[in-house]
């Protein structure tokens, strides 16, 4: 994915300023920066969720496989299918079973019940490293499992649609260290098949799971590079101050 001259606003307040970035395929890219720097807004522009907010607007381009996802002939729903999203708090559909949660997106896009659906559900739960823990409880409510399991269920739900890119907005912030470790392992394993972009406030998490890191400040992309380089020897003084906690 790439963005060119990407700007975003909430009403008159500009949240993103001229973001130009090329996100590497089959890698994990972490977006870091202080609260209000535009991380989540940037993430939401990558699958056209920003435009769902009242009063929000954007300009510039976001390319997915070379095609601008904001072009007039592009269906926003299809974009969101190709670019999945996992949110801060696990949000399984409360009235649905574990199976139903994973299958929900597929059913909405016309896949009928049956062997194929079963296969996709199993494969998605396996990829989300949840299958062994829930295979005997697929009919139980999605909300009956632990918070960490619910987050992996949400990842399975996103995977089921076979997206190319998975966006994660602070996916571990509501989880305990053990559940966090499992999600982090999962994130690293997912890059074999998907491109992953994760917003995190946890610097160590960014260092652990990502291959590339982008540092944002006041709506601008300050520095972007290999995670090992950013965390060992950042080029920009602002990045250095932020990651070492000397900010403010």
């Amino acid at each position: 994915m790439q963005s060119f001259g990407l700007n975003a606003w909430f009403g008159t307040k500009q949240a993103l300023k001229d973001i130009n970035i090329s996100i590497k395929a089959n890698a994990v890219t972490a977006i870091i920066g202080p609260s209000g720097c535009g991380k989540s807004t940037f993430l939401r522009t990558l699958n056209r969720m920003h435009e769902l907010v009242s009063g929000a607007k954007m300009s510039g381009q976001v390319l997915l496989d070379g095609k601008n996802i904001y072009a007039s002939d592009v269906d926003a729903v299809m974009v969101r299918r190709r670019v999945g999203m996992v949110f801060q708090k696990p949000n399984p559909f409360p009235t649905m079973s574990i199976y139903g949660n994973v299958a929900a997106g597929l059913k909405l896009t016309g896949v009928k019940r049956g062997a194929n659906l079963d296969e996709v559900v199993q494969r998605s739960l396996e990829q989300a490293t949840l299958w062994d823990e829930v295979k005997g409880d697929l009919k139980k409510p999605g909300t009956s499992i632990s918070g960490g399991q619910q987050q992996r269920l949400c990842i399975a739900r996103a995977i089921a649609l076979e997206p190319e890119v998975i966006l994660m907005d602070e996916p571990c912030s509501a989880l305990d260290p053990i559940a966090t470790a499992k999600i982090e392992e999962l994130i690293v394993s997912l890059k074999r098949v998907y491109t992953v972009v994760i917003v995190t406030h946890n610097m160590q998490q960014a260092a652990r799971v990502s291959d590339f890191t982008a540092f944002m400040y006041l709506g601008q992309l300050v520095e972007y590079g290999e995670t090992s380089a950013i965390f060992e020897n950042p080029k920009n003084e602002l990045t250095e101050k932020y990651i070492t906690g000397k900010f403010g």
Partner: protein, 212 residues
């Protein structure tokens, strides 16, 4: 902005600077008394033991800071480099002890160095390198640290010229044996000053260079 990590980094810095002073003193005492034909074993042994103990302290403190604060960027470079520098300072102390011990054991505290200009120059050069490495550390001066590479080449030249001189000598006595070993210890100390220099450059610029 004050950080909890800063307190630990300050303690680590004080320890490593102190080690530099002790190491410099160990080298100075050892070489001066070798030149003067005086016994330095007890004094240098004490200093070398202090350095060995402080290396463990620095390592423990560094591990504590890494475990507690997961430092990154310049903080991580400092901690990593201080651990390496502490080891290099410990080696200064150990070689200082080796010089004093060899001088006493093999040469019976004779003034062996007076027989060779090369040996004296090598000893002076290494003393200067040690002082410069400690000074560059305290001043966080990457350029001064880099200059150690050039001086190390000079030390190497003196060492090899001295070996050449020894190989041509017909006399085999205790001073020849002593000086052979001492010159080797001096050459190794010179090497370690360049390692300290490399660490100082890494702290100040993040650049990984070789000064040898």
């Amino acid at each position: 902005m004050h950080r909890l990590l800063d307190v630990g980094l300050e303690q680590l810095t004080v320890s490593v600077y102190r080690m530099g002073e002790v190491a410099e003193k160990a080298i100075d005492v050892s070489i001066t008394r070798f030149m003067d034909g005086k016994d330095a074993t007890a004094a240098v042994r004490e200093l070398s033991d202090v350095l060995a103990a402080m290396t463990v302290e620095v390592e423990n403190k560094a591990f504590e800071l890494i475990a507690k604060y997961q430092p990154v960027a310049s903080d991580l470079r400092i901690i990593n480099s201080y651990m390496k520098i502490a080891y290099d300072f410990e080696r200064y102390g150990r070689y200082a002890w080796d010089i004093s011990f060899t001088h006493k054991k093999l040469a019976g505290l004779d003034k062996c160095a007076v027989n060779s200009d090369l040996m004296q120059k090598l000893a002076e050069t290494v003393c200067e390198m040690v002082s410069k490495s400690v000074r560059a550390l305290k001043q966080n001066d990457g350029e001064m640290a880099k200059s150690l590479g050039e001086v190390e080449k000079k030390a190497d030249e003196l060492y090899f010229a001295y070996l050449e001189q020894l190989s041509e000598t017909k006399v085999q006595n205790k001073c020849v044996m002593c000086n052979l070993l001492v010159s080797r210890f001096l050459e190794r100390i010179a090497d370690h000053t360049t390692y300290v220099g490399e660490s100082i450059v890494y702290i100040s610029t993040g650049e990984k260079i070789s000064l040898r």
